[in-house]
């Protein structure tokens, strides 16, 4: 273990860590470009260096990109990566109140805390916790996903029926493509491109990046509004910032744990994690009226969980060779190309390499937090750009980013379609959060339901599994609570 530490702080490695984080932050901050894309594009670059250094650089890009997305989310309300959607809501609202420096620095701090939390867990608890990845079977996944859908549809302030409508529309859209039972085309109307369904990243870029570009373009044409999006405001003292560690300690801890746990689970990645963590956190702060509209607690919960997820997803990757997220899957490919097969043998055969990686990951998170905290005012220079320029370049990157996922123009078309859908549903007053979660988790949900029905002997077997029971129970409790709350509100309103 010690050898790993010494290697991780050697000059070459430090350089690689810094470069990786910076590249990651840039990729993440540019809307339309994602962490997965960044990792995939830099894999050839890592061939110029040793496998250990290459791994750390890619991890740096991963962690940096996840944080970088929050920068544009907070400053211009365009999530740089899909993971930063929730951070954007909270952070941008805070920025509009003139608290942009606080929001950015808090994002950096929470990212750092969450990331370090998972990095330390990675260092000490990997063998133990990675088996958790295997205990989750179809009943547990179904229960977890049902729980996620429930909290999102039931806990939002918008009317229940509209939430449900959004959720169901989203789920229905994910059924277009190949059916999971036979691999035959379903709802594709003979169109080959539809056989892969609607690419998730293209849809999310369309929902959040392109729509914002359109609104920015509109705003820039209004003579009266100022050219700048928001004014930056005064900075915060470090003391104030770190004080939140104490006042919001429980939030930090809770969100980091949730993020870590969800990261370990294969197929649940950094995109859906903040939704779940954020909504769970809301449950513990019912009186916080600003939740979702500029709440410090919400921001912390979101950012912490995403960064903890990054480290968490590396856990089953290193020890079992199972990717905990989409970006992690590319990571595995990169490792294989370097001749390192992630899995149980890697730990045994190359312990020094692994520990170097773990220490490198801790360093990466420290650098990320450092750059975030001290670079905030430089990031804010982006705000000086006139809206018309921002609108133009967000549009360019949205298109190029959607194209680059699979080198397909069809995905760009999907992006525009998603933009249209988002605008239409917004006009209909159907909230976007349930749709987003449904689109993200839909395929996984159908797959797990299918396997559940094919393999389980009956309801008894499903109920016999404690974790699944727990999630089912919490879901039912939440539905009951929410029903009571809505009835009360309904009675309180004048008829």
């Amino acid at each position: 273990m010690l050898e790993g530490l010494l290697t991780a702080v050697s000059p070459t490695y430090l350089l690689v860590e810094i470069v990786g984080v910076i590249v990651g932050i840039i990729f993440g901050a540019i809307p339309g470009l994602t962490a997965t894309l960044g990792i995939a594009l830099f894999v050839p670059v890592t061939f110029l260096m040793s496998p250990g250094a290459g791994m750390i650089m890619l991890a740096g890009i991963y962690a940096g990109a996840i944080f970088g997305g929050s920068i544009s989310a907070v400053l211009i309300n365009v999530p740089g990566t899909p993971a930063s959607i929730i951070t954007g809501w909270e952070g941008y609202a805070l920025a509009r109140e003139g608290k942009a420096p606080l929001a950015l620095s808090l994002a950096a701090l929470s990212s750092g805390v969450g990331g370090l939390f998972s990095a330390v867990a990675l260092l000490f608890l990997t063998p133990m916790l990675s088996t958790l990845a295997l205990t989750f079977g179809p009943p547990e996944y179904c229960a977890l996903l049902l729980f996620s859908f429930t909290i999102v549809t039931v806990m939002l302030d918008t009317p229940l029926m509209r939430n449900l409508l959004g959720c169901f529309i989203g789920l229905l859209l994910t059924t277009i493509g190949l059916d999971p039972v036979n691999g035959a085309a379903r709802f594709t109307f003979g169109n080959v491109d539809l056989m892969s369904g609607f690419n998730l990243i293209a849809v999310l870029v369309g929902f959040f990046c392109m729509t914002e570009a359109v609104f920015l373009a509109f705003d820039s044409l209004v003579e009266s509004s100022s050219d700048e999006i928001i004014s930056y405001g005064k900075g915060n003292s470090m003391g104030e910032l770190f004080a939140t560690l104490w006042t919001h300690a429980v939030t930090y801890l809770r969100s980091s744990t949730i993020g870590l746990f969800l990261g370990i689970l294969p197929a649940v990645g950094p995109v859906e994690t903040p939704f779940i963590a954020h909504t769970i956190e809301r449950r513990f702060h019912p009186k916080d009226e600003k939740f979702g509209k500029g709440s410090v607690t919400g921001l912390i919960a979101s950012e912490c969980s995403i960064s903890a997820n990054v480290g968490g997803s590396l856990m089953p990757l290193i020890s079992l060779g199972i990717p905990g997220s989409g970006a992690a899957a590319v990571f595995i490919g990169a490792l294989t190309l370097h001749g390192l097969q992630p899995g149980p043998l890697l730990f045994k055969n190359e312990p020094v390499l692994i520990y170097t990686f773990f220490w490198g990951f801790i360093a990466v998170n420290l650098f990320m937090m450092f750059f975030g905290l001290f670079g905030a005012r430089y990031f804010a220079l982006v705000l000086k750009l006139p809206k018309r320029v921002l609108a133009t370049f967000i549009a360019v990157f949205s298109i190029l980013g959607s194209y680059a996922i699979n080198n397909s123009m069809f995905d760009v078309g999907v992006m525009f379609g998603a933009t249209a859908l988002a605008l239409w549903l917004r006009a209909l007053r159907v909230p976007i959060l349930p749709i987003v979660l449904a689109v993200i988790l839909g395929p996984l949900f159908e797959q797990q339901v299918l396997v559940l029905f094919t393999t389980s002997a009956g309801v008894g077997e499903v109920l016999g599994r404690p974790i699944a029971d727990g999630f089912f129970a919490i879901s039912i409790i939440m539905v009951v609570f929410s029903a009571v709350r809505r009835l009360k509100e309904g009675r309180a309103k004048p008829a």
Partner: protein
């Protein structure tokens, strides 16, 4: 008169010797075709129908890197994933320009399944194979410390016959895993509950976690788990023994009738129809030269791919035979979709 005949004999001897010598020389070197003029003058793209990080992608990237090393030209990998490969395959067959700068790294019988089962809008002759890279057959595996782990494949098949639908078999639908399993099941009377998964990794996770009993996979995907003892390989869906594990029972040894070299991943390089013969031959030569190089074999072994090169003619033969097999199988199963 005598002088002339002596001269003639000497002359014919010399000519004969020259002919012999040139014949010997020609045999020891891969005949280099004429390099087409002004080609290549920019990087050549390998199209992969699967996203970055997967098995196909790794094969393509390794080949690209080796070809850069051996030939000095530039090769890039372009991922066009989606629809289980159908998007990239359709692109190669219908949209890719036949100018020699677009080479597909494709996999059969998945591509044939695209045409014959999913009704994709291209025909088998829209791409022309130029070299074979590797072939990896499907194998079946189970957890070592389970009831099934104590049995061998024959015993498992008997168990499945006596206890229909009790054993949960993980496959990827519409792929070799699925078909090979169905062929075995049909011929032996064994009945499994088929559990579909979108990819190799989810099936392996389910197997390791105990949610399914047995799964069809590639050996390269579970290599680590076999080595550390958690999974056990049971049989191989081919008629000749697997190089990495010659003890695995083959279909022939189990008396199951299955075509050779078909149900697995036949990874090959191909160009769109209409590419000039000159460029085709030159590309085939470059690939062959790269794959014959010793360091290339080592590079592929490092990423756990066994290089089994085929020449253009050999690959074309395998291509046509495989098509006939898939066509036959789907026809018997009544699932043949009329090719558009």
């Amino acid at each position: 008169m005598k002088g002339e005949s002596v001269m003639a004999t000497k002359f014919s001897t010399v000519v004969g010797a020259c002919l012999l010598a040139s014949a010997l020389v020609a045999q020891s070197v891969i005949a280099q075709p004429v390099k087409p003029a002004n080609y290549p003058n920019r990087p050549i793209n390998f199209i992969v129908s699967y996203p970055a990080g997967g098995g196909m992608d790794i094969t393509a990237r390794t080949l690209a890197a080796q070809m850069e090393r051996v030939t000095g030209y530039q090769f890039r990998v372009e991922n066009r994933g989606g629809g289980g490969g159908v998007i990239g395959n359709t692109y190669m067959a219908t949209q890719a320009k036949p100018d020699g700068y677009t080479v597909g790294i494709l996999a059969n019988p998945t591509m044939f399944m695209n045409i014959l089962y999913q009704g994709a809008q291209f025909k088998k002759d829209d791409v022309e194979p130029i070299a074979g890279i590797t072939f990896e057959p499907v194998i079946w595996a189970t957890r070592s410390n389970s009831d099934l782990g104590k049995m061998d494949f024959k015993q498992i098949l008997e168990y499945a016959k006596k206890n229909p639908e009790k054993l949960k078999m993980g496959v990827i639908p519409n792929a070799s895993f699925d078909t090979a399993t169905r062929i075995v099941a049909k011929q032996t009377g064994a009945k499994f509950t088929i559990v579909p998964f979108p990819g190799g990794k989810p099936a392996i996770v389910a197997l390791l976690g105990g949610n399914i009993d047995i799964s069809a996979v590639y050996l390269s995907e579970i290599d680590q788990y076999v080595k550390d003892g958690s999974l056990k390989a049971l049989a191989v869906a081919d008629n000749k023994p697997l190089a990495e594990d010659p003890k695995l029972p083959t279909m022939k040894a189990l008396n199951i009738k299955m075509a050779s070299d078909t149900w697995g991943a036949d990874r090959f390089a191909a160009v769109p129809k209409g590419t000039s013969k000159e460029i085709k031959n030159y590309l085939a030569y470059l690939i062959e030269k790269t794959m014959a190089d010793k360091a290339t074999k080592e590079a592929f072994a490092k990423v756990k791919v066994e290089l089994l090169p085929k020449t253009m003619a050999e690959q074309q033969k395998a291509y046509d035979e495989s098509y006939a097999e898939v066509h036959e199988f789907l026809k018997e199963a009544g699932q043949l979709k009329a090719p558009q």
